[in-house]
Symmetry: C2
């Protein structure tokens, strides 16, 4: 039985989980791939910290190039994350004709085109199931499962931290800061939560999904990003009253020859499947021209779910080595004639607007008159708690309007002396 040698770069949290799971799943890999996959070297800067798992300490090194340059190693798994030196390590591995597996969303969302082309030139695979949605097989789902479809849209809850925070705020009525602190204590949020809560993580992930779905290079910088740190309990409760929940959605749509890719907190109706995705879970709703709406759901992060994804990549490469046939997704290679990325101010959406206004007659008339001037029509309106002469929240939802018109109207409205602070806007996805 053929033995395939493998190296690992990055022996942190996910790397440790992978080494443990590779050992536990040796029999499955052998039986399902007709070969043995042997981990022969692990490279990490830190070769002293105990990893609390059983592993062969002799294979641990701090010399990355003893992995990349080893002629016997056929598969390299990169799990150090970040842009550099990950980009260089991946590129150098591909140039040495190693198959590479990465869970590094940042490097793919910034340098994906360069790396996929490099893999192609060197006739090796670059797989990345673990980069989006943890254990949810969304990459293979798009590349093979619904590969025959013209993909219309992807709407994803791609960040477990944000979804945990928003779920808790919804269930308990707690403030953003209270829930964030609790999430940090439970290990569901990082000590510096910026990357998650400001939507950057989701933006990297949707760039990767959109690149596959639309067959063109979509980079991190192409994604409009807005995080959840501005969401107050009042938004959650008004949304509830209107029949919606608030989720951080990563959205990619293709229409009228253009592509839009954006991440922002979004009102979705209670009966949308994504509204059922609670806590740290992820869910990705994909609309294809034949399949209609289909959803992939599960744990979006963690040692074991990510190991599930990475080992599925290892098994796919092992099968290709044993049987031949790489079955590459040409959408990541034929990146000519890309559609234009539609800028956010060309967006058409319905909106949720919260104003803090003086509670007195004609306030609503003034605001709706300005909205009307910008061709924005109001769908519903809530004003809670009478407090004549003092400030109260006024919530409006609009019918479909143009983002630019909304932004212009808001600028006008915030100048009114009846309006206390900068109006707060959320987009609605029906």
């Amino acid at each position: 039985m053929k033995k395939i040698k493998m190296g690992l770069i990055g022996f942190g949290n996910i790397g440790t989980g992978l080494v443990r799971n590779l050992e536990n799943h040796k029999a499955i890999i052998k039986e399902r791939c007709n070969c043995e996959v042997e981990l022969v070297r692990i490279a990490d800067k830190d070769i002293t910290t105990p990893r609390n798992i059983e592993y062969n300490k002799n294979i641990l090194t701090n010399d990355v190039y003893s992995v990349i340059d080893d002629p016997e190693i056929e598969i390299i798994v990169e799990l150090i994350g970040g842009l550099e030196p990950a980009r260089t390590f991946i590129a150098d591995s591909l140039k040495k004709r190693k198959h590479v597996i990465t869970a590094n969303k940042a490097v793919l969302a910034n340098f994906g085109k360069e790396l996929f082309n490099l893999a192609n030139e060197n006739n090796v695979l670059l797989l990345f199931e673990g980069s989006v949605g943890g254990g949810i097989p969304i990459i293979r789902g798009l590349q093979q499962g619904i590969c025959a479809n013209d993909i219309k849209s992807i709407k994803g809850i791609l960040n477990g931290t944000c979804n945990y925070i928003l779920t808790k705020m919804t269930d308990e009525g707690s403030s953003f800061n209270t829930v964030l602190k609790e999430a940090q204590e439970k290990g569901f949020a990082e000590p510096d939560p910026t990357y998650d809560i400001e939507g950057y993580d989701s933006a990297h992930k949707i760039a990767i999904l959109a690149s596959i779905a639309f067959g063109q290079e979509i980079k991190y910088e192409d994604v409009f990003v807005n995080g959840i740190s501005g969401i107050q309990s009042v938004e959650i409760s008004f949304a509830k009253e209107l029949g919606y929940v608030i989720k951080l959605l990563a959205i990619a749509k293709s229409h009228n020859g253009e592509v839009e890719v954006r991440v922002h907190p979004t009102l979705i109706p209670n009966d949308n499947m994504l509204a059922s995705v609670l806590g740290v879970n992820n869910g990705i709703l994909v609309e294809g021209d034949m399949v209609g709406e289909t959803m992939f759901y599960g744990r979006g992060a963690g040692q074991d779910p990510t190991s599930s994804a990475i080992i599925s990549d290892i098994m796919a490469i092992a099968q290709s080595i044993i049987e031949g046939g790489f079955h590459k997704d040409t959408r990541l290679l034929s990146l000519s004639n890309p559609k234009k990325i539609r800028p956010i101010d060309k967006l058409e959406s319905s909106y949720y607007l919260r104003f803090i206004v003086i509670d007195r007659p004609k306030v609503m008339a003034k605001i709706s008159s300005i909205l009307g001037d910008h061709n924005i029509s109001i769908e519903s309106c809530i004003q809670k708690g009478r407090n004549v002469g003092d400030y109260v929240p006024l919530i409006l939802t609009t019918h479909t309007a143009k983002e630019k018109a909304i932004q212009d109207a808001i600028k006008e409205i915030e100048k009114l002396d009846i309006v206390k602070e900068k109006p707060f806007l959320l987009r609605v996805e029906e």
Copy 2:
């Protein structure tokens, strides 16, 4: 650019949809597979009925063997359904070294082992993404997406007709017969709905999923089947009161060296993801040892979703022909040392029981005493509508108990003179 010739056997509803979608998706297939797939012959008994689509009438024949015997045809799609002659047509195609695609769950759930082995002996592929879950890529999800996992359980809503009926009964409080009639009028149920509502369709599908998940032959006859025709509105409303919904679940579990495979109406908690699967949609919740719980959701039937699945199979075979490498799922071939199928009376579950009893003192004491004699403990109890001396429903839910104990207890209880009719039992899945 290589041309791959394809034949179709069966030009009914799904076949017609496939021919239409193949034509519409020529460019996608060409671009993503680096080849052209050409449909060169369609065989059907009926070559006269108009199909209301554009197609080349010259390729329609009633001679099936002009497809199977054509040396130029490399891929054959079988869409006639049923056991025979489908089994023979598939077998003969495989013997002629044609790759075969089928959406025929019945033939696979009865003769899968024979056919997969035949494909293997002839070094061709037998793919079947369309046989379960319509457009939902559950087959590839199990075979490739979460292939590294030891699969613990599969719980699926696999029949759109039943889910439509149960959803309507839940939303509207209507009776089974009223909703069934409406479903038939809308085309969501067949004129003879037996195959769907008695659970046979779901049983075929779960046999296929369980075979992949557990890597052993699981046939239709191994599945315990109970349909939804006995469900009354009273069940739906009591379930609701207890925080549950009723779904027809197809369940496959592997534990303690045994496998259980069953289809029956089941109470599931409102916050279970499967409770969000409404109307004609399907959802499949799979638990793997690494991935945890992951769900696949979407339209379970129809021309377009099924076309999505079948064309994904065509594209997979086209890639294998062009590039080499069949990447077969060995789980469908290495069928030695199967685990024992656990008979239903060995099941351990919690239960919902409805008795129709005389409304008088000590009724509950008698029933709970018999349950206690069989080591069954009661979790909750509802008795609605006082009507002293007349019959009223009494609902009990139990803690985990043995199926045999429940069945024995029911037999004793139904002999009591305070009990009017045969008690009604549902299983609960937490």
